[in-house]
């Protein structure tokens, strides 16, 4: 069988890469195989693709480093926002407790009415319980808080 029709030959040339990569359906692969067997131009092009593929096997094997985990773990730790670190949380809790006590003492020392002092104390207790719930709320961990924050900042493009 001879192919003199340029269009037919070009069409097969356009599928040779996929054929060499085993990406064609069985029917189309058979069509390309039959065509290439009869068409010197396509047979030559196919041989060139296959020789390039074979040459790529000679690509120098890369030297693999030891595990990247130690360095990665270090970077992971560095990226953890300071705000959610345990020392900060403990410090914040202690500051809130101290603030509550000072507020109550100042309130009574300045002669604030019982209602006002109670309001100031309530506000500070509210802050305290917010920090507490962030740290010990149901199912919430420091990692969860960090991930929730980081999930808005990443990008892949």
């Amino acid at each position: 069988m001879k192919y003199s029709d340029d269009t037919a030959a070009k069409h097969v040339l356009g599928r040779l890469q996929a054929f060499a990569d085993g990406e064609l359906s069985p029917g189309e692969a058979e069509r390309v195989r039959a065509h290439s067997a009869a068409c010197p131009a396509c047979a030559r092009a196919l041989a060139e693709i296959e020789s390039v593929n074979a040459a790529l096997n000679a690509y120098e094997e890369t030297r693999l480093p030891p595990s990247i985990w130690p360095g990665l773990a270090e970077r992971l730790e560095r990226r953890r926002p300071f705000f959610w670190s345990v020392p900060f949380a403990v410090g914040a809790s202690a500051a809130a407790a101290a603030g509550l006590l000072i507020g109550l003492w100042l309130g009574s020392a300045a002669g604030l009415g019982g209602g006002q002092a109670a309001l100031a104390g309530e506000t500070l207790r509210g802050d305290w319980s917010e920090v507490g719930s962030l740290l010990s709320g149901a199912g919430t961990t420091l990692d969860d808080l960090y991930l929730a924050d980081a999930s808005n900042g990443g990008e892949t493009e």
């Binding site: 356009g14 890469q17 996929a18 990569d21 990406e23 060139e48 693709i49 020789s51 390039v52 593929n53 040459a55 790529l56 096997n57 000679a58 690509y59 120098e60 890369t62 030297r63 693999l64 480093p65 595990s67 990247i68 985990w69 360095g71 990665l72 773990a73 970077r75 992971l76 990226r79 961990t141 990692d143 969860d144 960090y146 991930l147 980081a150 999930s151 900042g153 990443g154 892949t156 493009e157």
Partner: protein, 174 residues
């Protein structure tokens, strides 16, 4: 991956252990620098950890992972080009001279060098497609997902890459 998304660091460590070699190998070939590849590998996994909650299990994890790595590599290559331009440094590709064909068999080392330089000189996206196909043995569909393009676009990228490689290696090994 689900456990990693939940912040389980041990699960994340196992995931890194499973994938760090293919990712490093891919990045080393993309960037032609083991040091930069190691740094970019770490960056890739940091992003995996940070974006784990966005991952949808119906997608192929490998494609998602290599998409992150590929985007990072291309970003670094672009930055490198800008820096080379700013510093007016010549971009050296060290292509093999087709006129230098040696008589008889070409030594293995020479062949490796020629192939390495030919791949290095490919445009970024063609290089990415070639590396994913030849060395990670991904299907066209997987490559399409990993590169955010269509399957016909992958076929076209590989066709152009093969033509460029054939030309670069002409008289040497092809």
């Amino acid at each position: 991956m689900e456990r990693t998304a939940g912040g389980d660091e041990e699960a994340f460590r196992l995931l890194v252990e499973r994938w760090e070699r293919p990712i490093f190998r891919f990045l080393d070939r993309m960037l032609s620098s083991p040091e930069e590849a190691e740094d970019a590998s770490q960056e890739t996994f940091l992003r995996v950890f940070e974006q784990a909650r966005r991952y949808r299990p119906e997608g192929q994890f490998r494609s998602w992972l290599f998409r992150i790595a590929g985007n990072l590599a291309r970003s670094r290559l672009r930055r490198r080009k800008v820096l080379q331009w700013v510093r007016l440094e010549p971009v050296l590709h060290d292509r093999p001279d087709p006129g230098e064909r040696a008589d008889g068999a070409i030594e293995k080392r020479e062949l490796r060098r020629a192939v390495r330089e030919a791949v290095r000189a490919l445009p970024e996206r063609q290089k990415q497609a070639v590396l994913l196909r030849r060395y990670e043995e991904m299907s066209y569909a997987e490559i399409a997902t990993a590169m955010g393009v269509t399957v016909p676009a992958v076929e076209s990228l590989l066709q152009r890459a093969t033509a460029a490689l054939r030309s670069a290696l002409a008289g040497t090994v092809v």
